[in-house]
């Protein structure tokens, strides 16, 4: 039998899907045809190529993503329907719930104290109380940003979104997270949080600074896109510097070229 005829059978032979008599025909041809034999040998050799193994942080990234997704889903459900007593109880048992519960108790305590202590609760006291609450929220965020678990650090980043204006200490922690956090998801979340406060002068410079230090193409592309959105006049020179870095991912280099063309 010729090679052209065997070609119809060979793919099924490779997947061991031929009937015995057909396999025999192929094997007889292989015994006389070095080219087809070589194809079969290559097919077998392909299976010997070594497999890559997932990195140690892969599972952690997945869990952070799953946790973030579940949190977002829980928020959506909460707005869609009133939560049950049980789900409220479960939420209060979480670390975030405990902190929120403590804050609520503080507010109630302060309110009752103000009512009992003086009937002339003035606006100064309320302003001080607001300030104290804001400080506590920022403390929670700072504490969670330093946790080992990526999902807890993600929660820490989401706490910073509750502030109208970032405290310098929280801003500094977010900048540090954007530059140094081992999880790409947490770095991207930190970038999102910083963008919300882009009116603050240090935010834009922190995004520009982070660009040179990033290794993940995903984060680099997100940073580049943000610089283009801001139309930052200084961004072009930083992008030029980035694109000249050796070992830069070609995807990022291409994105940097696109961004430079947009900014000029």
């Amino acid at each position: 039998m010729k090679c052209e005829q065997i070609a119809e059978l060979l793919p099924d032979y490779l997947q061991e899907a031929l009937r015995p008599e057909q396999s025999k025909i192929v094997e007889q041809h292989l015994a006389a045809c070095p080219e087809c034999t070589e194809v079969v040998a290559l097919w077998k050799k392909l299976a010997t190529l070594p497999d890559e193994q997932p990195s140690a942080v892969s599972r952690e990234r997945f869990e952070a993503m799953l946790h973030a997704w579940q949190s977002g889903r829980a928020d959506n459900l909460e707005t869609a329907k009133r939560p049950s007593l049980w789900s409220t109880f479960q939420w209060l048992r979480s670390p975030v719930g405990a902190v929120a519960w403590s804050i609520a108790l503080l507010v109630i305590g302060a309110y009752v104290g103000l009512q009992l202590g003086s009937t002339k609760a003035n606006s100064q006291d309320l302003a001080a109380l607001h300030s104290e609450l804001a400080g506590m929220r920022q403390l929670v965020a700072l504490s969670m940003l330093q946790q080992q678990s990526a999902s807890q650090r993600l929660e820490g980043v989401s706490w910073t979104r509750r502030e109208d204006r970032l405290d310098p200490q929280v801003l500094s922690a977010l900048k540090h997270t954007l530059r140094n956090d081992p999880s790409v998801d947490v770095r991207l979340a930190a970038l999102d949080a910083l963008i919300r406060h882009s009116a603050q002068p240090q935010v834009r410079s922190s995004v520009v600074d982070a660009l040179q230090e990033q290794q993940s193409p995903l984060v680099q592309v997100a940073l580049i896109d943000q610089l283009v959105e801001w139309r930052d006049p200084q961004a072009a020179q930083h992008l030029e510097k980035l694109r000249q870095s050796p070992n830069l991912n070609p995807t990022v280099r291409q994105r940097a070229d696109w961004a430079i063309s947009k900014l000029n």
Partner: protein, 191 residues
């Protein structure tokens, strides 16, 4: 998968454990870029959560997840249009137990695979490394089973030629080992 579809996100961890390594290897062998491959694996599982309602009970989950994997990569390349160079560190790692000649052959074969046009490389990867049946691959890429078989045969012929060329000129093989990445085409249903 039905539990994931019906809202039990925790069950996704079981699927992650089962599929993260095959998916990582699918992407690594296809793109030659490990960092990008790890990002795409995460993207696949995020898409499973987002689009879990599109999974139809009774249909093969393996084909469904590879459909998502292909589309995730297509969308990535649509946004970025990269031409990823062959990374020497992605070449097979040295296994001291193997004889030197076998090592060299393994490296040449890997380079030859990376030289194939992306569509052919993807077919070989799906059939050989991911061990999908021809009918599963046919549904995945949106063609008939007989077309898949013809393409597999042609891909193997081309692989043989590339392998021979590398064997005859191993000195400059690293230059010619760049993957032939063409903009991937989305086929089959949207996920």
């Amino acid at each position: 998968m039905l539990q994931v579809r019906d809202g039990a996100g925790e069950t996704l961890g079981v699927l992650f454990d089962r599929y993260q390594t095959p998916l990582l290897n699918f992407y690594c062998k296809l793109t030659g870029d490990r960092g990008l491959s790890e990002d795409l694996v995460q993207e696949v599982f995020l898409r499973i959560l987002r689009h879990r309602q599109t999974y139809r009970p009774g249909t093969p989950f393996r084909a469904w997840i590879y459909q998502i994997a292909r589309n995730a990569r297509i969308d990535h390349f649509r946004k970025t249009r990269p031409q990823v160079p062959f990374e020497p560190e992605m070449a097979p790692s040295v296994n001291p137990a193997d004889p030197a000649q076998q090592q060299q052959e393994s490296e040449l074969l890997h380079r030859a695979l990376m030289q194939l046009p992306e569509e052919k490389r993807e077919l070989l990867i799906l059939c050989r490394f991911q061990e999908l049946r021809y009918d599963e691959v046919a549904r995945l890429v949106g063609c008939g089973v007989s077309t898949v078989k013809v393409r597999i045969h042609r891909a193997l012929q081309e692989l043989r030629e590339a392998f021979h060329q590398l064997q005859s000129a191993p000195a400059d093989s690293s230059q010619r080992g760049a993957p032939q990445n063409f903009p991937p085409r989305r086929l089959g249903h949207e996920v």
